[in-house]
Symmetry: C2
Subunit: 553 residues, 2 copies
């Protein structure tokens, strides 16, 4: 007789890699009590979001149902899972639950936005659990590239759901808990309604490699280098950071950390007791007096980010340290698609200094934090769910993951952002409008507000300001003025473009009908069109135009 249902609704992260935000609900349709899993960000790029600082999922749907939200759960402390908590928490208002390390990072973000740290509650690992309305949620340790990553066990009156979070199967992960098959088999034992599962590496056919394979290679490399070694990786990959630092010590090198994120992450890891065997580090000041062959710099900026330590070193010096011929720069990381240009730029800058750059192409110095295809299959088999719902992937990853599940006779449900799935039925039941919100300076800007579109247009086409003054009789006072920005100064036959434009617009005004001159709207439109057409005729481009009409009265 129960009309209750258990629903799953991704608002971010399904159909893209980034800004994860998943909703589960239980109750009568449209009265479900809700929990939110992860509140992440994604990063802008010049092609589609110039000038934007961060990108959030559009959580209007949740905001409109704020009174039904029981709690927020954060699986791990990567920016694409926790990065939006400070920015969006006010719209949701529910308590945030996470394990100690993740909670430490989340609290720093809440603090930056002036919210009480109490809104973040630390949870121990499963079997401890949080009850939130009809949900009971436990954090099951799972291996990934940041400490204390967790899969969530979500119990409801309609059964158990397993939400893997980001994961890999790594039984020797260094820092952080090893993947524990026995534990996961226990979790699965009572039966799993749905496995909501990471899809990132579904196209990688070989079994994933353990974090433990990286250390010996880095140590070997470190010993062989004649000069200073500089290594970069994601600061949040505490295990890798430790591996690199330990390899340095084994190779007789002192370790110096550069970059705010690097220092902050190590601090959080030490504070939460995750990291108790990190080598003693030296300050940049002290590093300067250490012989190059005895020094390792561990720096931020593995993606070529312009303001990170790696880019600053590539530009010259940073904190008084400077690379030179005979030094080595190691990327213990992979380049995320879209970041290639930035990474290649710093590689070439180092090359110009005579620095040897070593990247991930050999496969020796980096392993992925996500489960590859065979490992995903293993996870399906361990959890033996009634259905698999792929998440954390672009459309092609989700689709391939559904196929992979099907190969083992697990029905897959392809649900991109905005697809509300009735988990019991294994079917979409509703489509919610979703999207992105841009953090632009301090403003939140909607994806379809036209603001970023205008910026892209100015970047592609340049901009002309046309100013016109009309007297009390609606007669133009002189010619209109034109000012260019982002446009060539001369057009055909080397004629001055501003002059050509002002002549064309002025001539047109002289011939313009009195009716047109009285009507701001028509006048503005006609001047814009003529300005665009004249510019196109001169230089082959149609600029964006702002027309300002002033009337004396």
């Amino acid at each position: 007789m129960s009309s209750e249902r258990l629903i799953y609704l991704p608002l971010g992260g399904a159909g893209e890699i980034g800004m994860n935000c998943y909703v589960y609900g239980y109750g009568k349709p449209d009265e479900e009590r809700l929990i939110v899993v992860d509140l992440g960000v994604t990063f802008p790029d010049m092609d589609t979001t110039p000038g934007v600082d961060l990108i959030f999922p559009d959580i209007s749907w949740l905001e409109a149902r704020k009174d039904r939200i029981e709690a927020i759960f954060i699986t791990h402390a990567h920016e694409d899972h926790v990065g939006a908590v400070g920015h969006l928490w006010e719209k949701l208002g529910a308590p945030i639950h996470a394990r100690a390390f993740t909670a430490n990072i989340a609290r720093r973000k809440m603090d930056e936005h002036g919210y009480s740290e109490q809104s973040v509650r630390t949870v121990e690992a499963w079997p401890e659990a949080v009850t939130a309305g009809p949900f009971t949620v436990g954090f099951v340790p799972i291996s990934h590239s940041i400490p204390e990553s967790s899969g969530l066990v979500i119990d409801t009156p309609a059964g158990r759901v397993v939400h893997t979070g980001d994961f890999k199967i790594d039984e020797t992960p260094g820092v952080g808990e090893p993947f524990d098959r026995t534990l996961w088999a226990q979790v699965a034992e009572p039966g799993v309604k749905a496995l909501v599962c990471d899809s990132t590496n579904v196209f990688s056919d070989h079994p994933g490699r353990s974090e433990a394979s990286v250390g010996p290679e880095i140590e070997k490399l470190m010993k062989a280098q004649p000069g200073m070694v500089v290594a970069t990786t994601f600061a949040s990959n505490i295990s890798r950071v430790r591996t690199i630092a330990q390899a340095a010590v084994a190779a007789g090198r002192s370790v110096c950390l550069l970059g705010r994120a690097m220092r902050r992450m190590i601090e959080a890891a030490v504070e939460t007791g995750i990291l108790d065997d990190f080598p003693k580090v030296v300050s940049p000041e002290d590093a300067k007096s250490i012989p190059r062959e005895n020094l390792l710099l561990l720096v931020t900026g593995s993606q070529g980010e312009r303001r990170a330590a790696s880019a600053q070193l590539a530009n010259g010096k940073y904190m008084g340290l400077r690379l030179k011929e005979g030094d080595t720069f190691l990327f213990s990381s992979k380049t995320i698609p879209g970041n290639e240009r930035g990474v290649i730029r710093i590689m070439n800058q180092f090359s110009e200094m005579g620095v040897d750059v070593i990247d991930d192409s050999s496969g020796l110095y980096h392993v992925s934090g996500h489960a590859n295809r065979p490992d995903l299959k293993t996870m399906h088999e361990i959890c033996h769910p009634e259905k698999v719902i792929p998440m954390h992937g672009e459309h092609r990853h989700l689709r391939e993951h559904v196929k992979l599940a099907g190969e083992n006779d697990y029905p897959g449900v392809l649900a991109v952002n905005g697809t509300m799935v009735d988990i019991g039925a294994g079917q979409p039941v509703e489509f919610i409008e979703t999207g992105r919100v841009y953090l632009d300076g301090r403003a939140h800007v909607g994806q379809f507000d036209g603001i970023i579109r205008d910026r892209i247009r100015m970047a592609l086409n340049g901009h002309v300001t046309v100013t016109l003054i009309l007297d009390e009789e609606n007669e133009p006072l002189g010619d209109p003025w034109c000012e260019l920005m982002g446009l060539p100064e001369t057009g055909r036959n080397n004629a001055d473009l501003v002059e050509t434009l002002e002549n064309a617009l002025g001539g047109w005004l002289q011939r313009a009908d009195a009716k047109v001159l009285r009507d701001d709207e028509t006048l503005e439109k006609d001047l814009r069109i003529l300005c665009r057409r004249t510019t196109e005729n001169e230089i082959g481009k149609k600029p964006e135009v702002t027309v300002v009409i002033s009337r004396l009265s």
Copy 2:
């Protein structure tokens, strides 16, 4: 007693991959007679060159020495080698020499710019040669990913230089001449002063694979697919295009070509007799009535270019053809760094249609057109030059290539764009200012003109137009007007941003000193600063500002 010297001067292509342009000179210093090898373009990107159409090398140095230029030689018909001939030829004025296929493409470009096709002269392969002042230049066939690629044998009174052009060592290249070791050994026999050598794949450690390895794999794939197959590759890779078409026929599929570049390249190849066994193709119109499992579309757009056939198919339909569930899209190509986002976008669009996308990750369906590290070593050994001068590479490639040459005791000379090398001495003798010129619409814009910088700033920061009218007494007529473009409409406390700005500027004007109000320059500067500061205070961003001051007189 001879004070003549033989010089090498790269103006483009050394320190980057793209816009190749190399100069050789022979004669007394500053009186050398000159030849130019290749006149290529490179492509813009949103990060650094928004709105730009094409990028050329800055050839001012050559232009200033136009009377000393004997001839232009084009090694092959890729855009980064021949793309600028139509745009830049006027500045050089010398005859263009190329082999038949390359000449065909070059003539089309000259024709588009209204230049006589006679300026392009067809040359047969070595031992035929062109005499140009003190130079005698022969085109030696070499394998690459476009027909009739040639290395140049450049004979001078100071000896022989070998300029490889782009190449790989492929003894079974399909269309085009196989790499001929005996021929190259003959070329090297009299001794080679310098080997100026492609560096693109110096970081690829395995020997390159032959074009012939691709066909059987594509045929196998084609046979296994239940629906339509769509394949993309570089249109200029005639051999690959033929391989794909022949595989289709073997798999019982009709071939339909889509995209202007694809048809144009095939046309040029047929016209020049390179391609005489291309399967009969069907028109897009006829293709519509062919069962999907019997159809192959061969399309442009392997790099995800927005206007190419692949992107159009990904957006919906193209020429009446539409993909659907069960169809397959094959990238028989690699993604050039920087193009990942565009390629991934269309992959996901196809995924949404239910189309299976197969890319180069297996290594089965594409081989590179450039010599890998072991093949470069082979080339060094065949030519046995006095020195190796790496070209066609970013700084890191050139540097690594110098190292590779050194491993075999060939002295390497690292010469980036603008480095004039005395080939006899094997030393740089002068540094020339070089750079890039942007084609923007029809205008040529200098890299440092500030025009593109302004566009990038508008894209990052948005734009405000401030208009102010002052009367005959230098008193402001009302408040200044502000117009926003690419900026949020509201600031702090949801206040209207334009209103806030106009109030702030208006208030300041009321308090402004009469001296300031009289001086356009000061007034403009102060209004700009205040506008930027107020906007930053409101939304956390400093916009670009155009101030227009009008005075009634």
